[in-house]
Symmetry: none
Subunit: 110 residues, 2 copies
DNA sequence: GCGCACGCTTCACCGCCTGTTAACAGCGCT
DNA sequence: AGCGCTGTTAACAGGCGGTGAAGCGTGCGC
């Protein structure tokens, strides 16, 4: 189920990430992702199961330092959740740890 | 079974504390912890098996000095116990030493 | 050049969670 | 019994994150 960080193809339940192609598949369908969305998702997946701070996510997906008050990470987490939710309604992937950051882990809902 | 204070990953029976990730696992499941809860738990675990006074716990988890009448530590010990109890009903981790403070040590119930 | 489409950023609003304090109940010791 | 300490719950305020939309910039096709 779980995948080593730098495999070419990573599977998370119904979700499939082809790193080299920059391609995300959900139940066989292609999920259109922008560059930022993809890099953020990859950053989270690379830290599978661990909490990743906004600062680190910003470094990994944007490069540079997250400025105080910058909500970009939040907004893009939301975009990712929306797309994943729409493709795979029965699962949740990105979990919030208030005051810490986000964590990637596929779970069945409720 | 027991762990040295500053290991990255500490195991207490079914309980697993990943210090660097700020993550607590109980039987493989993630236990969501707030900042205070986590710091208090870590403070207790760092003094594994020893009695820690409220004053010291406050210093370690809150910073600063515990003011007379401040019950914050008690309230958060209770929150920790509730979460640990719910995740691992057959074990007890935090023990009260009346007039002295609290002590962390995983024990089977009864 | 112009307008459009897309992606990224920023803003504002709102709801929920957290941390704090207080109040009351219960327990243990003398 | 009386006192002090702890357990437990509730109420409150502030902060953080969720969310939708507007603002900008860039690249592309016409």
């Amino acid at each position: 189920m779980e995948a080593a960080p730098h495999d070419e193809t990573i599977r998370a339940g119904e979700l499939e990430l082809r790193r080299s192609d920059g391609l995300v598949l959900a139940g066989g369908r292609v999920l259109a992702m922008s560059v930022r969305e993809l890099r953020l998702l990859m950053a989270l997946v690379d830290r599978w199961g661990r909490i990743v701070s906004r600062e680190e996510l910003y470094r990994l997906a944007w490069g540079g330092t997250l400025r105080p008050g910058d909500r970009s990470v939040d907004v893009y987490v939301h975009k990712l959740r929306t797309k994943l939710e729409q493709a795979l309604p029965h699962a949740t992937f990105i979990h919030t740890h208030l005051g810490f950051g986000y964590r990637f882990e596929p779970l069945h809902k409720l």
